[in-house]
Symmetry: C2
Subunit: 195 residues, 2 copies
DNA sequence: GTCTATACATGGATAGAC
DNA sequence: GTCTATCCATGTATAGAC
């Protein structure tokens, strides 16, 4: 399974492309960023770049995936009540990527879309993880009296985290963490943490 | 102010184009719908259509504006606690338009984007209206004990309504009304309506 | 396997005639 | 106000060099 030798160089180049693409999107936004521009930054011709990816959207999907995995490590260990906050804070530094994420999420409803599988996986995964967190809180009695079950709380929290990004894209002065905190406060969790 | 004569025909044609464009987007989705396709449906050539709009995105913006005004009448009179529910229900019938809306909202962070002004108006407007509703509820004592002020509740509710659309675009089986109801339930409003 | 050159189809945009 | 013709950029597909 240890693929050494001929693959090594190509893999490195592929990662370099993803890294450069991430940069370009973060700087100039998703819109108006052509593959030729990315290719040029990698000292490559367009077809040279396309050797590594089946299509543009395939590349975008891999960018998203790489980004997602990078961010995942960042909050893997986090088991607190608001696991989203950390990734949100990181996203606030890269508007282009937030735009990319939201645009792709909006466009990939079509089953033919290359990113369809990505989000079709990602959303349920996120919901399940969040639901798990809320179930723990419920088991601990922290959610006593809350009239919404953990699964629906997960949907709600995810909607808040996604939705606030849309507002933020249109007004950068908006605090992306506040609504997450507010929702937690509504659940009474904040009160429980009072020293 | 009553512009009669030469303008009448052009205005009618412009509205027809917007109506047709709305149809096409609703049917075939926002992605993969070219201006030539829209033009053909209006018995026009591409430049014939472009006579009415500065650019593609300018046209999309006007489509959004027309759509928004049409929907506004639908809920103008509504003063209840969840004014979003009605428009959400209507949106559920036209995935293409929801996709268009979200995509534009994601892309228009750039001040140069034609839709920038539209959303820069729309979001604060919505927040203000929602904040007003929550302030009324607060004045009536319905929000006693809620640890979040009306303005932030408005941001929160808007985020929920926008965010659930993203989830819905990726999984049509998701109930777009439920999270709105759940948030209201968390605010204790549902309890107040118990008979 | 890695990459260049080239050709093609389609999209949005513009110029200028009618 | 609308068309024909044209232009440029983009994503994509193919042929083939190394």
């Amino acid at each position: 399974m240890a693929k050494r030798g001929p693959y090594e160089k190509g893999e490195a180049k592929r990662r370099e492309i993803l890294r450069v693409a991430l940069e370009v999107f973060a700087e100039e936004g998703y819109r108006g960023t052509s593959l030729r521009k990315v290719a040029a930054r990698c000292n490559l011709s367009l077809p040279g770049l396309m050797h590594y990816f089946a299509s543009k959207e395939d590349m975008l999907t891999q960018v998203l995936r790489a980004r997602d995995e990078a961010g995942r490590a960042h909050m893997e260990a986090y088991t607190g009540p608001d696991p989203h906050t950390e990734s949100i804070r990181e996203g606030a530094r890269t508007p282009g990527l937030v735009e990319l994420f939201v645009s792709m999420a909006a466009a990939c409803g079509d089953p033919e879309h290359p990113a369809h599988a990505f989000f079709a996986e990602r959303y349920p995964q996120f919901r399940t993880r969040l639901a798990g967190v809320f179930e723990e809180l419920a088991a601990a009695g922290t959610l006593d009296g809350v009239p919404v079950p953990p699964e629906r709380l997960a949907v709600l929290m995810l909607a808040v985290a996604d939705g606030i990004q849309l507002q933020w894209l249109n007004d950068r002065s908006i605090d992306m963490e506040q609504p997450v905190k507010d929702l937690m406060a509504l659940l009474g969790v904040a009160a429980a943490r009072r020293p």
